[in-house]
């Protein structure tokens, strides 16, 4: 899995602790602790390997390398790397979970409505007056990256 270069990201360093609402219009790299909410619509969020985030997260793309306790809404893509510990629900268009990641929660893949609309428009153009087929666009589905003595007691027969 390729991690984007973080040089141009705004950084929250290891020793920084933030409590409250965090919002912005640039990419953000969190390697410290954040508690509250993170709102980065249209931008990317990376939770670094030392990052500890207890917050709901809304961003275009989210990469978790550290710890996240909260729901993720990623309009494009969510990614959990092998060191990730994520607890919460994920709503996104695409997901990648590396082998070794710990995840507890729901994964809900939302279809890309923009792509679908464009495909329908294209289909309408090529088919003239014919109505566009309802599901002509292939929806983006989830994808996960792959490399992603016992003492015994017999139970009596009278049931448990």
């Amino acid at each position: 899995m390729e991690t984007p270069k973080t040089a141009e990201f705004a950084h929250i360093g290891k020793s920084v602790i933030i409590k409250g609402e965090l919002s912005g219009s640039e990419d953000l790299y969190v390697d410290g602790q954040v508690e509250g909410s993170i709102e980065l619509s249209g931008n990317r969020l990376i939770i670094g390997p030392h990052g500890q985030v207890r917050a709901s997260v809304n961003a275009k793309g989210v990469i978790v390398q550290g710890k996240l306790d909260g729901n993720i809404r990623a309009s494009e893509r969510a990614e959990l790397t092998k060191s990730a510990i994520a607890v919460g629900d994920i709503v996104t268009q695409r997901i990648a979970i590396e082998e070794g990641a710990f995840f507890k929660g729901k994964v809900d893949i939302q279809k890309d409505t923009t792509q679908k609309d464009n495909a329908q428009k294209d289909a309408s153009k090529t088919e003239g007056a014919k109505p566009a087929p309802a599901a002509s666009a292939s929806a983006v589905a989830g994808s996960a990256a792959g490399a992603a003595t016992v003492a015994m007691k017999a139970i009596p027969n009278d049931g448990k």
Binding site: E35, I97, A139, A141
Partner: protein
């Protein structure tokens, strides 16, 4: 501020990653796959260790999937208390208050894998009862049980759906779930015979047994 318990999981991750993957055929999975492949927008609950393969398989087909490693959750030390005789016991009531709670969700399929064989005795019946209430009528539950011939050293596996009737298995240990403890074996708690299994799932509408060659009894239960 300490948000999470501290743990250094790097060594554990690499140990887990180095364990070999085995494959096995599963007749019960083959039946389940027919449903997974033919129906849309199912709601699935996977109670095994986090499996990217299972999440991918389900989401690629438009299903919603919940992942909840119940065996790891059951090893939370704070659940352990001592009874009057000083014997350690698990607080099953608190366990169910904190786990298997999905507001508004009803499941079409629950993947238990070999969870019942490794779960603490006090949790097995309450967990199966809760799963019954989480399943939709007609919903299916898949579980694997060791036969007596499996022996006391039967390893605990994480199961990954490959497709068709093929499962990939990775040996898992305590500590893989990053609770800070070093990896150690999960202990096989008991062996269920057919009658035990029937009793365990007596509230369900039907139960189907599949005997596999590797000393595993596969069970597909319908609510």
């Amino acid at each position: 501020m300490k948000i999470f318990g501290s743990s250094d999981s790097t060594a554990q991750d690499s140990a887990a990653a180095q364990r070999p993957k085995l494959t096995r055929r599963s007749s019960s999975l083959a039946q389940l796959i027919k449903t997974l492949d033919s129906e849309e927008t199912l709601c699935i609950l996977d109670l095994g260790s986090t499996s990217p393969a299972n999440i991918r398989y389900c989401t690629e087909r438009g299903h919603k999937i919940y992942s909840d490693d119940l065996l790891i959750s059951s090893t939370d030390p704070s659940l352990v208390s001592k009874d009057e005789a000083g014997k350690p016991t698990l607080d099953s009531k608190r366990f169910l208050e904190e786990n298997l709670v999905y507001p508004g969700a009803e499941f079409d399929i629950v993947l238990c894998w070999n969870l019942p064989d490794y779960l603490d005795e006090s949790l097995v019946k309450p967990v199966v009862g809760r799963l019954w209430s989480l399943l939709k009528p007609g919903g299916m539950l898949l579980a694997f049980f060791h036969t007596q011939e499996a022996g006391p050293d039967a390893p605990c596996y994480r199961y990954h759906i490959v497709g068709g009737d093929v499962l990939e298995m990775t040996h898992i240990a305590r500590g893989d779930g990053k609770k800070g403890a070093p990896p150690s074996k999960f202990r096989l708690q008991r062996v269920f015979n057919n009658r035990n299994i029937e009793n365990l799932f007596r509230d369900f509408a039907s139960i189907k047994f599949f005997l596999a060659r590797d000393n595993i009894r596969e069970v597909l239960v319908v609510r």
